[in-house]
Symmetry: C2
Subunit: 378 residues, 2 copies
């Protein structure tokens, strides 16, 4: 593009002409393709797709899932469950160890929809049993190697104790065992991620076998975006709960979960200053827009976001020699390649590919689609 022509075009065309401050741009077509692809894979594997809605937190985006056959969802907080139940979602798992201080709100929710709660201790089950005023599904949270929380998959004794405590509570029905194999985020190859998925499924099956004497057969629920994106078939489990795949992001791309063409969100940020001596571009876009999540790329650079340019439909590929190198509350510092630096002017937009799209969407709380429609978060 000729510079002057180019700049004029970006200032006025959809959606770029609408951007005054850091704005989360959503490529609807890509998001829908991501949903379709995951829904098809779940169907082929004959498992339930219970996508995690914490990534997008939007009732409108939720409808794109519903139109593709999804009827069960995952959320990470009681407030998010309330929001989606209000938008006619009737089967919602709150994938977070049940918070005893919200038991009243949880009781109300259970009167309105089928709610799944997570337990990993007898104390929590007993407390909930004493206070819950409606029926709920109970999932036992299993740790299959991530070591964030959950009962160790081979600690059958604890697992059985929790299952027995659930059995004794008339308001709780044991739904199954649930895990989040977040260790896939630390893997260094696709092979490793697939291996983690299969090991996770094996461990979950062993845990279920160990539970069998206590009652009916129960479901196994797993799911994280890297493994759900990379395995071809969801063997040996009943349910998958990936969330991030609807948008993907820089971290997922570096892990190898997606191609650049699958990343469905970028943050359009105005250029506010340039520094020739160090070839840096200052953008309006910082920690309150992107979060302070960072990754190291293959070259060992600490990166707060990838750099793309607005294009007529969507944005360009990321520029491999440019990156968001630092952020403070509102400022972002882009280390720019020579061509980017030379062709960028104050007032132009750069598109930042976020490191972690869930945190970015949570901060910006509004999407602007490529055709100029605005949609709010939660």
């Amino acid at each position: 593009m000729g510079k002057e022509r180019g700049r004029e075009r970006w200032l006025t065309s959809q959606p770029w002409g609408l951007v005054e401050e850091p704005t989360l741009i959503l490529d609807t077509r890509r998001a829908i393709a991501n949903i379709e692809s995951m829904a098809r894979k779940a169907e082929r594997s004959q498992v339930r797709l219970r996508p995690h809605f914490k990534t997008h937190q939007s009732a409108e985006i939720g409808e794109w899932f519903r139109e593709r056959g999804v009827s069960a969802i995952t959320v990470s907080s009681v407030a998010m469950a309330e929001y989606f139940v209000s938008h006619q979602w009737q089967d919602v798992t709150i994938a977070f160890p049940v918070n005893l201080r919200q038991i009243e709100a949880v009781s109300h929710l259970c009167q309105r929809a089928k709610i799944g709660l997570l337990f990993e201790s007898v104390e929590s089950v007993r407390h909930v049993a004493a206070k819950l005023k409606a029926e709920a599904l109970a999932w036992i949270k299993i740790d299959t190697g991530y070591h964030r929380t959950g009962i160790d998959w081979d600690d059958l004794e604890s697992c059985r104790s929790v299952a027995r405590a659930i059995d004794q509570c008339p308001n709780l029905e044991l739904a199954g065992l649930l895990t989040h194999a977040g260790q896939t985020y630390r893997a260094s190859s696709s092979e490793q991620i697939r291996a983690i998925f299969h090991r996770t499924a094996e461990r979950m099956n062993l845990a279920r076998d160990g539970l069998a004497p206590t009652g009916e057969p129960v479901c196994l629920s797993v799911g994280d975006t890297p493994s759900c994106s990379l395995v071809d078939h969801f063997d040996q489990v009943d349910e998958v709960r990936p969330g991030n795949f609807v948008f993907y992001d820089l971290m997922q791309w570096l892990i190898g979960s997606c191609s650049q063409e699958q990343i469905a969100v970028g943050v359009a940020c105005p250029v506010v200053a340039k520094h020739d001596d160090r070839r840096e571009i200052v953008i309006y876009g910082g920690a309150v827009h992107l979060s302070k999540e960072f990754v190291y790329d293959a070259a060992g650079r600490k990166i707060y976001g990838g750099i793309a340019l607005p294009a007529e439909t969507g944005w360009t590929a990321m520029r491999s020699a440019s990156y968001l190198a630092a952020i403070s509350q509102e400022h972002g510092i882009v280390r720019a390649d020579k061509e980017l630096f030379a062709t960028t002017e104050i007032g132009d937009l750069l598109v930042i590919i976020p490191v972690h799209s869930c945190l970015t969407a949570n901060l910006l709380r509004e999407y602007l689609t490529l055709d100029g429609q605005r949609m709010t978060v939660g």
Copy 2:
């Protein structure tokens, strides 16, 4: 405290009995003492205190400043300026390089209040000159060593060019030179921070001297919480703009800007699980509440927050052997000392001292005071 008695007390007493999910607790008395102390120091130094309101973003907290003689403020975005102008603040500096894409909103603001804008290039001045429909104050942004943005303090030629461009714009009046010496956040001792303040003031004076031939004498504006907290007297400058000092936080405490007893905010987080084998407590409190900001302490531990306990008035001192070691979107993992682990039960609250209170307040958007009053952010 006896465990059972203790727990019952925290569940019902103000403000702890009101806490169901991660909640930003504000110790009003401490915040007001911080404001008074800074206002008195500015008065003694005969400089204007123009506090940065991005930290608290609250009209109610703003009034505590007004009652102590503050009439001029700093903000970091046009939206924040609009909010505070709506709350009768009539002298507002938007301390961010002027964003050309918001010039229309800026024009409206300038019709309602005395607005200060930041410039560091002739292009920006010319663009604003062509579009601004009301009068504004112009500050030249100077880089005194932080290297985030601004004109190098010894680049007198660029400084003069920008000043001349401002002079030529009838709607802009040159207010002065402004810097943010954020390098104080990287200092390793109080002496270093004081030295940075004095070097900054010297450099600003040299820059002003270099400007003199272009017109009237102008003001010098500096300010960052570490140096404003640690110097006794604001010599050689006209205005200081610290922001974080109203609350302080773990980072400021580690830098040495404040004592623990000056930290005015903590995030009350429910305990949701415990892991005996690794002595970890899982709390409801993650990146969407605290941000992913972290610090390394003297022992080299990576810390996402300090750990205190609810007390009858406020919270206890931080426990030096316990810390928030990891966070994901909603989970926090506390490495607990033996006593803390033994005496903490699921359903209890821990008080997390945030690493960076500005980002935490921006995420939680509501304060709960120790006497149970709620106040919202922006």
